[in-house]
Symmetry: C2
Subunit: 393 residues, 2 copies
């Protein structure tokens, strides 16, 4: 007998990965330029030059130091640089010893669920949400509770307050959001903080706010993603350099525990212990040094805004009902028929690969990843037009 | 309330890491050359040139592909190359689709315990053993059962057979062994296989043999570490390139499921699901390509044999009782007083940093990591002489 959940997680196909695999096969069949693949969130702008420059420079150094173990929580100089960067940009007030360098945001999130949840406790999140939240929560013996959104996919604060109970231990937010591109405003974060403080008092225990923010720098039209730590003391930030530096495969990110959290040392230790028990030894050593040299820089993310404008403008002109994304590189579009999977299937007829929203906890949408060239978006518009006509838009 | 175990794992100091930290501080105090630091298993020979050459060559390629996500189980070309390498060197008969590229052997081991153990089930291992086996087993809700060794730290087969029961789901072996350097012979592996087949029949369920072998290539005097898959069908190999290529901080290894395992696809899926639930997305992407280009090569590991000979020869001449290591880069030495911690403390007086064996599940020894320069071993001998004299050897 094998563990039921592990087996299910290993056997279940991610609907994103499945569509991406279909795309790869289809491109081989009819040509790369004929398929409009909006399935996967792989950055489309190259890593900034500082990455290759830093790697070249480091290759001249001692290989034992370069490729050797680092402390489990990361190189101290890197942790210090991360804390300084957060404090300079956001006055976050974090200290280097509360930074833990992780193998990407996923490792940070999993370490939080394993290090904070007791069996039977609940994590609350806002739909639509990244599907792995369910896996990380259940792996730790907890249960993910999802709160449906209000108008414009903004958080429904009344529903959120109602979802909290004596079992709530964690709240996971994702801003800018994958799959919707919604960025939580300062007002929303203030409300979330107020509601959580009241719940902590009512239920007599700490509720941790885990902020998953790999898309932090990908915001448009002057929108900013405010620093969550300003609104709530029991906050942990999970970050990844995957999107800002276009290094998703290299698996380097960090988590930062707020300096204003009452039991921050114990919380940090418990998360570190959970990471250890999952088999994390340290985040890749050379890349820690590379990214330390590139801190504060980003890939040329301005292209994503151009793609967003083209896609949003084009789709709304065709009559599709879209949520305008303020950040990340996903557009969430209402499907003209209630069954998102059926719509996604029909879109394939026009070589459009759009991810149905069911796995994101909110039916009736597709996620369109616009981390593709603006040129491809322009070429895809006739296909979207045919799709719109199928539905009489 | 935080999860008790995670908190304990985060708060407990590894006695290896603690001694290494003491060493770093002591070196800063009295000078690097004055401290004989045998605490930690960081390779002392640089990565082979092929590593830097491969990195330089890859920097000329498309950065999006180079640093992009790979499939969770690794790049198919890398998995294929790993399978071919195992089949060429060991006639292992493994197929590429049963190779899962991991973030080092630790990630592979943790994925095995999480993906195979049900709560309350047992994993059996041979003392002395790597301390993280306890953590990975308990994190999965299981219990680690340790079998004390026979003469020369060889496995005690009668004690092993007696340790198996209806709760036994896993057996973890480590060959060449950390901390003892013992390499399991073909005869020992045959006995282990025979005992396990009988136990499978008796208890009516599969018992998985997990072979942790990051030191596979570090063997001396013509000794070979036989391929475990030849002796037992329900075998999973966990490997890391940390030691053979001197890349411990880069976190790349793999696990390989035997082609002769009856339910290999399900087992592979369950392990993959466990890796996913721990937050593993993929092993670092660029390093997968680098190592694919270096497969079959090793760092200049011949230096370890020289260090072993110097150390073993020197210590036995002084009257210490040592197990001659056939592999890895550790020497396990009996302490002349029963309390290994007290002995390790006394060794510090002579600036000798030796890890007490208690955490390895076998009291009364110290582990001496000889992944240091032969020159340092020579310089350390007068200190060992003084230590021997303290005990009247």
């Amino acid at each position: 007998m094998l563990p039921e959940k592990s087996l299910a997680w290993g056997q279940s196909k991610s609907c994103i990965r499945e569509l991406a695999a279909y795309g790869t096969a289809r491109k081989a069949e009819i040509g790369k330029d004929k398929v409009f693949d909006f399935s996967i969130g792989n950055p489309s702008v190259p890593a900034p030059d500082c990455v290759a420059e830093a790697i070249s420079a480091l290759l001249k150094e001692d290989s034992l130091e370069l490729h050797g173990y680092t402390p489990a929580s990361g190189r101290m100089s890197f942790r210090t640089a991360i804390a300084e960067d957060l404090n300079r940009r956001y006055q976050a007030g974090v200290s280097a010893d509360m930074i833990y360098v992780t193998c990407g945001a996923a490792a940070g999130l999993s370490s939080c669920t394993h290090g904070l949840l007791l069996p039977g406790e609940e994590a609350v999140t806002f739909a639509p949400f990244f599907p792995e939240y369910t896996v990380f929560t259940e792996a730790a013996g907890g249960k993910l509770v999802s709160v449906l959104p209000a108008e414009g996919l903004q958080p429904d604060m009344a529903a959120f307050a109602a979802a909290l109970n004596e079992k709530t231990k964690l709240v996971i937010i994702n801003t800018p959001n994958n799959p919707s591109g919604v960025v939580l405003s300062a007002e929303s974060l203030q409300s979330i903080g107020d509601i959580l403080r009241r719940a902590e008092e009512k239920y007599g225990h700490t509720i941790y706010l885990v902020s998953d923010e790999p898309y932090r720098e990908l915001v448009y039209d002057g929108v900013q993603a405010p620093c969550v730590m300003h609104f709530y003391d029991d906050t942990i930030i999970c970050y990844s350099f995957s999107k800002s530096l276009s290094l998703p495969g290299e698996r380097v990110g960090y988590l930062a525990v707020s300096s204003r959290m009452a039991e921050k040392e114990k919380v940090f230790a418990s998360i570190a212990g959970a990471a250890r028990s999952c088999g994390y030894v340290n985040a890749p050593s050379m890349m820690q040094r590379v990214i330390e040299k590139c801190l504060g820089q980003t890939a040329d993310i301005s292209q994503y805004k151009q793609s967003r404008d083209l896609l949003y403008g084009g789709l709304t002109a065709l009559g599709f009902d879209c949520v305008k994304p303020d950040g990340a590189f996903y557009l969430f579009m209402k499907t003209p028929e209630p069954d998102a999977k059926a719509f996604s299937e029909r879109a394939k007829k026009f070589e459009l690969l759009l991810v149905p929203s069911d796995d994101f906890g909110l039916p009736g949408y597709v996620r369109i990843a616009y981390c593709v060239s603006p040129e491809m978006i322009q070429r895809s518009m006739p296909a979207f037009k045919l799709l719109a006509e199928e539905y009489g838009l």
